[in-house]
């Protein structure tokens, strides 16, 4: 099951800059595509449109696809612009549901999987960087308290 990430790690390609077009795992069947991940974690929703417009104009090469990583559960702005996006639950929700799982471990794994999935040639950060986002995540799940009201 973990072959995707293992493949990714074995090739020591955690440095996104090494990626070449046509080598994207989730686009195996497609050719000549490269990706750039644009993180917008913690960005005020009012600024998302400007970020999307700007990055689309400045970053999109002929073979580039932009992947926006957001922690905003309202996807309207991304859909309106017809862009690809991934979502991570924001810190407030991680804290709200801290007992559900080891968030930091999960998000680190999730980020690794997103890198393996998209193999971006570049990661561009608006707002909180992914490293800060991961560092802020609750570190371990609190053992399940018995029978507390669900949130």
């Amino acid at each position: 099951m973990r072959k995707l990430k293992e493949l990714f790690l074995r090739k020591d390609k955690q440095d996104p800059g090494d990626e070449a077009p046509g080598d994207i795992y989730v686009y195996k069947s497609k050719e000549e595509i490269s990706t750039i991940i644009v993180t917008t974690l913690g960005v005020n929703p009012d600024f998302l449109e400007e970020i999307i417009v700007t990055t689309k104009r400045k970053l999109s090469g002929k073979s580039d696809r932009l992947i926006y990583l957001t922690d905003n559960s309202d996807f309207t702005i991304f859909r309106r612009h017809g862009v690809i996006f991934e979502y991570l639950p924001p810190l407030a929700e991680q804290r709200l549901h801290a007992a559900d799982m080891p968030w930091q471990a999960y998000l680190q794994e999730r980020w690794g999987l997103l890198l393996a999935k998209w193999r971006p040639r570049r990661v561009l950060a608006y707002g909180t960087t992914i490293d800060s986002f991961l560092a802020a995540a609750p570190t371990a799940s609190i053992p399940n308290a018995a029978d507390v009201p669900r949130s």
Binding site: M1, R2, L4, K5, Y25, V26, Y27, K28, S29, K30, S73, D74, F75, T76, R79, R80, I84, F85, E86, Y87, P89, E93, L96, H97, A99, D100, M101, P102, A105, Y106, E109, R110, L113, K117, N144, A145, A146, D147, V148, P149, R150, S151
Partner: protein
């Protein structure tokens, strides 16, 4: 936690095993014992049965405690019911310690043809591994005892007396005194299984004669298998489906209980016979039952059954005497009141002195378990809404987590649910095969970090990535909730049912109009009533809803909800309906748009009485509506019918969609609503609107809708999840998993 008795059982058994267990639990509770119930998912049942209702009622009523496998339990006695549940090792560790363990053998080890029914050595070994003590074998009858090997497996011993079935006589009132009817009423009750019936047609017709002038035959637990077995059934055979409830009433309506089974079947005991005897029925059986029921029953060969019936039917005294013998036998040997004495006699476990004190401390909180709700739906939200209906009905102790492909994730997040987003391949322009490989890993990562007890998947399409992720976690109980009304093009998904432990089908009011692929496999799924997120009585009242929506007094409000139209162009319908409605000066149109609609072009109201609004769930405000024009998707259709909103249904007839036309036809023909088809009826839209807004017509539709009986299937699904979230599985062999 300290318990007197921990019952261990597959709580899904339909028949005598669960009934016998329920009697023991109730008897133990009455005697003041502190007990718990650990549910096991054994290998015998493949159908997604829910927990037996008697057992659920006992748990809900506090007679016994539901035990989570992780709960630390010290039990004086572990009482496991049915050897099949221990055919494999427990697939997880439990926190149970005990001093003694009894395995009640409800079934002979070998049947009458010598076929092995369970591997006793394996069962004993698995019990020993699970509980670490010697296993006392407790056969329910001499039939079971006699089938045991002379040399028992290591770590096993045999109880000196049989663990006979018990019955609560208060639940089985005597049949009214009096002679048999004319024609004589003969009945029987058994699971719908060919083995429970005589092998030969000639015998069946001797035992249950076809002469309608003399006999009426009532069969509880009939089914199509009887025609397969015997061909066309006699006209005087009245068959009824197997039932859990109403059995005493059924038996009281009989004169004779006559039970014969297949030559291949070995009946360990015959709980239904005991129930018939308890009611005082004259009971006729084959001779091999005599060691079990003695003089309480009458024994006869098939050819002699009519003669025996004739004798009792014409001799009222003999009938009364035999009836009394039956009841007395049950009271003497099988009364539930004997259960505490049995425990004391065999295990020196005596009744607690302060029964009330023990019971009062019995209820303890259970560890929290996660339920992962996964759903498809890119531009829609029907599956997510259905899952939220279930999630909000889960009991305390079960925590819902969502992983959805729906753009409506924010609705779950805004309601405080823990939610994750899994992009669909269309949303990222990926080939399905490439995407499925990634989806499998994304889901597996989430599962491995959350460690949910139940995975509930809601979608029509089952993706390979989902199947691959589930295959990695065989202990995760997986449920596929899929609605009916499929088109033929969806048929390939049917075979994906094997990837799940259970399939649940939320009902359709219009099920008679569903002849799609899922209708052919309905016997393999758990059918539940239609599911609604919000129940009709949870809506705002009319005044409050109108106040929230700022509706002027005296206005006729029509809700318009035609969907995005991305796969079926509804622009013509929308324009036509709007014009017809707005031509009426007192009418206001609420054009309800999905909060995740795909069309982002500006869309201005066509006039002051046309309001474009985003409402979720719009049903909350539907008492403000005088009528509605909607596309009959599952949720909207059931909401409008069950909420008695007079509605004109305009089906989305795209090949991608479910059979909305069939739903609308059901409503039209039953007088519950009106049907207008885009390509057939649009030129007549004015007439449809006139009919929709006619007060008499609206009143008639609402009245018919209000008479539709309904309970919320979401409650049933929530209960099902609750029952399976804390089961220990033995339905797969963990020693062979790699």
């Amino acid at each position: 936690m300290r318990l007197d008795i921990l019952f261990v059982a597959d709580v899904r058994f339909e028949g005598g095993t669960s009934t016998a267990l329920a009697v023991e639990i109730r008897a133990a509770a009455r005697a003041g014992f502190k007990t718990g119930l650990l549910a096991v998912k054994g290998p015998l049942l493949r159908h997604p049965y829910p927990m037996h209702p008697d057992l659920r009622a006992l748990v809900d009523g506090g007679a016994t405690e539901r035990i989570d496998p992780e709960t630390k339990v010290d039990a004086d006695l572990v009482l496991a019911h049915h050897p099949a549940i221990m055919s494999n090792r427990f697939t997880r560790r439990t926190g149970i310690r005990t001093e003694r363990m009894v395995m009640v053998l409800h079934h002979p080890m070998v049947d009458r043809r010598g076929k092995l029914q369970y591997d006793l050595a394996r069962v004993v070994s698995n019990c020993h591994w699970a509980f670490g003590v010697k296993v006392w074998l407790a056969p329910v009858s001499a039939v079971v005892r006699d089938a045991l090997p002379r040399h028992l497996p290591e770590d096993a011993d045999l109880l000196p007396e049989d663990w006979t079935n018990l019955i609560d006589l208060d639940d089985w009132p005597r049949r009214p005194d009096g002679p048999p009817h004319n024609p004589v009423i003969i009945g029987r009750h058994a699971r719908p299984d060919k083995l429970k019936w005589p092998s030969r047609t000639t015998d069946a017709l001797r035992i249950y004669p076809a002469d309608a002038s003399r006999y009426s035959i009532r069969i509880l637990g009939g089914g199509p298998f009887l025609q397969q077995l015997y061909g066309p059934l006699p006209a005087n055979w009245e068959t009824m489906p197997f039932a859990w409830t109403g059995i005493p009433g059924f038996l009281q309506g009989l004169d004779f209980y006559v039970y014969y089974h297949s030559d291949s079947w070995s009946e360990a005991f015959g709980r239904t016979i005991l129930e018939a005897l308890a009611v005082g029925l004259v009971t006729i059986l084959p001779a091999h039952f005599q060691p079990l029921f003695g003089d309480a029953a009458v024994y006869a060969a098939p050819r002699d059954v009519e003669r025996v019936i004739g004798k009792f039917a014409t001799d009222a005294d003999a009938y009364a005497q035999q009836s009394a013998l039956a009841r007395e036998f049950v009271a003497r040997h099988h009364s539930a009141k004997l259960f505490p004495q049995r425990l004391e006699r065999l295990f020196n476990i005596s009744r607690p002195r302060d029964a009330a004190g023990v019971r009062a401390s019995a209820t303890r909180p259970l560890p929290i378990r996660q339920v992962l709700f996964a759903s498809s739906n890119g531009i829609g939200m029907g599956h997510l809404a259905q899952q939220m209906a279930v999630a909000q009905r889960l009991p305390r102790g079960l925590k819902p987590v969502f992983a959805t492909m729906s753009y409506a994730l924010k609705i779950a997040a805004e309601q405080g649910y823990h939610a994750h987003f899994l992009p669909h391949h269309r949303g990222i322009d990926a080939a399905p095969k490439d995407w499925n490989d990634v989806l499998a890993e994304e889901l597996f990562d989430l599962i491995s970090h959350l460690r949910p007890a139940v995975f509930a998947y809601d979608a029509t399409a089952v993706f390979d990535g989902v199947v691959a992720a589930l295959a990695m976690e065989p202990n995760l109980f997986s449920i596929w909730v899929r609605r009916p009304m499929w088109r033929e093009s969806h048929r390939p998904f049917l075979e994906m049912a094997d990837a799940f432990d259970a399939v649940i089908e939320p009902g359709e009011l219009a099920d008679e109009f569903d002849h799609g692929p899922t209708s052919e496999v309905r016997d393999k799924v758990l059918l539940v009533p239609p599911v609604l997120l919000l129940e009709p009585n949870q809506r705002l009242d009319r005044a409050a809803a109108r106040n929230v929506l700022e509706i002027p007094d005296g206005t006729t409000v029509v809700a318009l909800q035609l969907g995005s139209g991305s796969n079926f162009d509804m622009r013509g319908v929308r324009n036509g309906v709007l014009k017809a409605l707005l031509d009426r000066p007192d009418t206001l149109v609420l054009d309800i748009r999905s909060p995740i609609r795909a069309d982002f072009e500006s869309d201005d109201p066509v006039g002051p009485r046309h309001r474009i609004v985003e409402l979720f769930p719009s049903f909350r405000y539907s008492r403000a509506f005088d009528a509605a024009v909607v596309a009959p998707g599952y949720n909207t259709f059931h909401e409008n019918i069950l909420g008695a909103v007079p509605t004109l249904f305009v089906p989305n007839e795209s090949e991608d969609m479910d059979l909305q036309l069939n739903r609308a036809r059901w409503a039209e023909l039953g007088g519950f609503g009106l049907l207008m088809r885009r390509d057939h009826d649009l030129p007549h839209v004015d007439r449809f609107i006139e009919q929709l807004l006619d007060p008499t017509e609206r009143e008639g539709m609402a009245a018919r809708c209000e008479a539709v009986p309904w309970t919320n299937g979401a409650d049933v699904i929530a209960n099902y999840i609750e029952d399976h979230a804390r089961m220990v599985r033995t339905d797969w062999d963990i020693t062979r998993d790699s």
